[in-house]
Symmetry: C2
Subunit: 224 residues, 2 copies
Amino acid sequence: MFKIFFLTRAEENYIKTIFHLEGEDTHLISTNAIAEEMDTKPSSVTDMAKKLADKELIHYVKYQGISLTEKGRRTALAIIRKHRLWEVFLVDKLDFSWDEVHEVAEQLEHIKSEKLIDKIDELLEFPKYDPHGDPIPTKDGKFQERDKILLSELPISGKGVCVGVKDTSPSFLKFLDKNRIALGHTIHVLDREVFDESMKIEIDDRQFHISNQIATNLYIKQLN
Amino acid sequence: MFKIFFLTRAEENYIKTIFHLEGEDTHLISTNAIAEEMDTKPSSVTDMAKKLADKELIHYVKYQGISLTEKGRRTALAIIRKHRLWEVFLVDKLDFSWDEVHEVAEQLEHIKSEKLIDKIDELLEFPKYDPHGDPIPTKDGKFQERDKILLSELPISGKGVCVGVKDTSPSFLKFLDKNRIALGHTIHVLDREVFDESMKIEIDDRQFHISNQIATNLYIKQLN
DNA sequence: AATAAAATTTAGACAAATCTAAAAATATGT
DNA sequence: ACATATTTTTAGATTTGTCTAAATTTTATT
């Protein structure tokens, strides 16, 4: 059983950001990177780093950088779990579109009630992925990343199912909606332009030209 | 169309408390009363009173007392609307019991998203009352108080439908659950003891003795 | 390896929300 | 009406989270 520590909203936001910056490999995160990501000043990050280190949520060595402790990682996963479950709730139960959910979920993820989030999970029938295709960590912090590649990595005549988006900005998501590209669709790469890396693709018998910027922001589960 | 002003959580809690203390009649609320209710110090209330007066949410005259402005009243009703809708959501959609919802709704009421609360309202099919029988203000701040009396005011052999509770503490609500007294039940007053004002009542062919403390915390809609 | 550039931390300040202790204003009792 | 009690406000301090500007450490360049 994990003890639940009460963190402030600011502390939770730092933990979440550090988790996202860590990504796959284990490298130290710089004060500057966190400040950049959170739209704040490096000196503020230093101040917070001391508090989080005191609470044993991060490893922090002055001038060297920051990484999450195991406790910090679990905390981050709990917050991300809440964020993503709320996103599913907003889309599935309240008909929000996938470009509207982030902002509200940023608030809802800080609600403190274990029962609440477990019941939401149950109401949604234990979803595995959020509306952008990102995996939802389990209650005990397990986190199964899908085996996916970027559309830009698919070879010509390759096929795959669209399973996620890298960029989750409203403008990108609205672009996909407008062109009726949604998760679950099968994409077939017909051709690729060497000059600008743009692609000709087919979805549901509809053919498109998409720029490399689009292709590098769509996650695909490759088919054989 | 009303402008939405962004208030801090603390400001919202003060506004809500002042609204509840005002009640029906228009009298000035004292610094002490607010401090008492919010479990804080009178000096803190004075500090906040200045801020809220600056934002034109309250009328405040030093040493005299506090009352809500029209803007303050509308703000209070918007928060109470959110609180009560979330309570209905928790009970109807997530199977919370009525003694568990308050604490969580205290957090959820501060989520800032007009669309969110309107969609929740829609999902719940526009409920008029929360799980404790309190009316839910409409979007435009209309607030219809039910025509109700306390069970203790019912005469002997009087009948009425249980429509609300005055005390919403978990201990009282659990007591009612244990004795299978719920909103919607018809209560018949069989007898009353002059000495301690306790009552003998009948609900669904079950007879009870209840103390005056119970009778003064149950709201009844009197039948003919 | 010395110096310049970049990143990071420290020091000191500020706003929000709270507190304690003291001062001021209002209310009460005879 | 006057003294006393109560209520309310002020003054100054504290905590959290932030900032700017200066100092320090690390990294990069020649």
